[in-house]
Symmetry: C2
Subunit: 253 residues, 2 copies
C-alpha cells in the first residue's frame, strides 16, 4: 500500500484493522474500483494466521503475494494476473523471489521503469539478465525434487491439511487454548493461539524450546503463540507439538 | 548508461569504443559536465582487462562500480560518493551487493523512488528492511575472516600484485603472446592475451582445461585468452598457469 501510493492512485478495497485483522473479507464487502489497473491481495497472513480460502472475484487482474503459502496448496494460477512469492518460506533460501505473470501484464510496462526492474527484461532473458543467486536456485531444485517425490503440490496439500487439522483439533478440544482467527479463514501455514495468561505463554515457549520445539513465540505485534508449520515442517513435528501441549495443559491447567 | 538515460540527462564523459576499450582515459580527456549530479565509472573492466590506476578528479560525486576488483587493492574510499559491487567476484556468492555511500547522498533521494529502492531505507534499517540473502551474508563473513587472516585488503593487494606481475612478466617475455591492453592500465584481476592464431588459442584452452586450469577462454565478444585471477585464485595457481604456458609455447611455438 505504502509503495503503491508512490506510483499512482490507490483505493483501499477493504481494511481489516478495526477487527484486528482476524478475518478475510467476503466478496460483497470489497469496494472495488471500476477500471482499476489491478487488485492486490496477500493470500495468507502470517501474524494472525488467516488466509483466503476463496479468492476475490475481480474484473481487474488479481495480483497476490503468496510468499507464506506458495506450493502449500493447489491454486488455479489462471485466476491471477500475477503471483509473487519470496522464496524463504516454502520454496528455498532467502534472497530469491518467484514470479508467475500473464504475458499481457509483462508487456504492460511504462518506459520510465528502469530496465532491470521490468518483468519483461527477466522474461526475455530467462531470468539470466543478471548473475542471479545461483546457490539458492540450486537449493530450489533440491526442494522441488523433494516436493515432486511427495506427489507435488497436491501431495503436499494433503500433508498440510492433515497437519493443520490435527493442530486445530487439539486447540478446539479444550477451552485452555483460544484461537482468535475467524474459523472459516484459518491458515494452514500459520496457526495462532493464546493461553490463559501471558505468564503461561512465556512458560509455554520456554519449556517448548527446551523440548526442541522452537520458534513458537507469536509475532511481537500481537503476542501469544504461533506455530508456522510450513512445508518443511512434517506431520511428526506437529504430532510432537500436540503431545507437548497435552502435557503442558495437564501440568499447568 | 542505458539505465541512466531513463531517469535523466546523460553526458558521456568519455567513450573508449573507437579504441576498442584498450585503455582508460587521462584526466584531460574527460568531458565533464559542470553541475552534474554525479560521475559514474567502472573501476576495473573485465573483458579487455583494464583498470583505473588513478581515479578521475571530479567536482561531482564520483560513483564507481567496483564489482570486479573490490577488496583486491587498497582504495581511498573518501574519494568516492558511492562505491557499489556485486558480491560474486571477490566478496562471496552471487545474489548480494555491497554499497558504500556518503550520508549526504543517502539523503538525496526523490520521493518518487519506491521505498524499497531507497538507500535511505536500507541504511536506516541496517540492511534488514527485508529478509536478506542470509546464506550469502554468512559466507561473506567467512571470506572476510579469511581475508583478515591474510592481512586484510593491504595483504591481499600484495599477493594480487605478485600474481599479476608474474603473469604479465611471462606474457611480456615472449612475442608468442600479445597483450592488447594498454600497459599503464593493465588490470590485476583480469589478464587478457592472444596467441599467434585462433586455432592455437582453442588448443591452449582445451589443453589447459585438461590440465585443471579452467575458465581461460576470453569473453565471447573479443575472443583470445583471459585469466581472471580474483582474490580466490592463489599465487600457486598463477605459477601453475605460467608453467603450463612455458610448456605450451615450447610444444607449439
Amino acid at each position: 500500500l505504502k509503495e503503491g501510493k508512490i506510483t499512482g492512485a490507490i483505493n483501499v478495497v477493504w481494511d481489516g484493522k478495526s477487527e484486528k485483522y482476524m478475518r478475510k473479507p467476503a466478496q460483497g464487502e470489497l469496494n472495488l474500483t471500476p477500471g482499476a489497473a489491478y487488485v492486490h491481495i496477500c493470500s495468507n497472513e502470517t501474524i494472525e494466521g488467516i488466509r483466503f480460502n476463496n479468492f476475490p472475484q475481480t474484473d481487474a487482474p488479481l495480483i497476490a503475494d503468496m510468499s507464506s503459502e506458495i506450493m502449500s496448496r493447489v491454486i488455479d494460477v489462471n485466476k491471477f494476473g500475477m503471483i509473487y512469492a519470496g522464496a524463504q518460506k516454502n520454496i528455498g533460501p532467502s534472497g530469491l523471489a518467484l514470479v508467475i505473470i500473464k504475458k499481457e501484464l509483462v508487456a504492460r510496462c511504462p518506459d520510465t521503469v528502469p530496465v532491470f526492474f521490468r518483468y519483461k527484461t527477466h522474461a526475455e532473458n530467462q531470468s539470466l539478465y543478471n548473475t542471479p543467486n545461483t546457490w539458492a536456485i540450486y537449493i530450489v531444485k533440491l526442494v522441488t525434487d523433494w516436493l515432486l517425490g511427495l506427489g507435488g503440490v497436491a501431495g503436499m496439500e494433503k500433508i498440510n491439511e492433515e497437519k493443520a487439522a490435527l493442530l486445530y483439533k487439539t486447540l478446539d478440544a479444550s477451552a485452555y487454548w483460544t484461537t482468535p482467527a475467524n474459523k472459516a479463514d484459518r491458515s494452514s501455514m500459520n496457526v495462532v493461539w493464546r493461553l490463559p495468561s501471558e505468564e503461561l505463554e512465556e512458560k509455554f515457549v520456554k519449556q517448548a524450546t527446551a523440548a526442541g520445539l522452537i520458534g513458537l513465540k507469536g509475532h511481537r505485534s500481537v503476542g501469544g503463540i504461533r506455530a508456522s508449520i510450513y512445508n518443511a515442517c512434517s506431520l511428526d513435528d506437529v504430532k510432537a507439538l500436540c503431545a507437548f501441549m497435552a502435557e503442558f495443559e495437564k501440568s499447568n491447567g
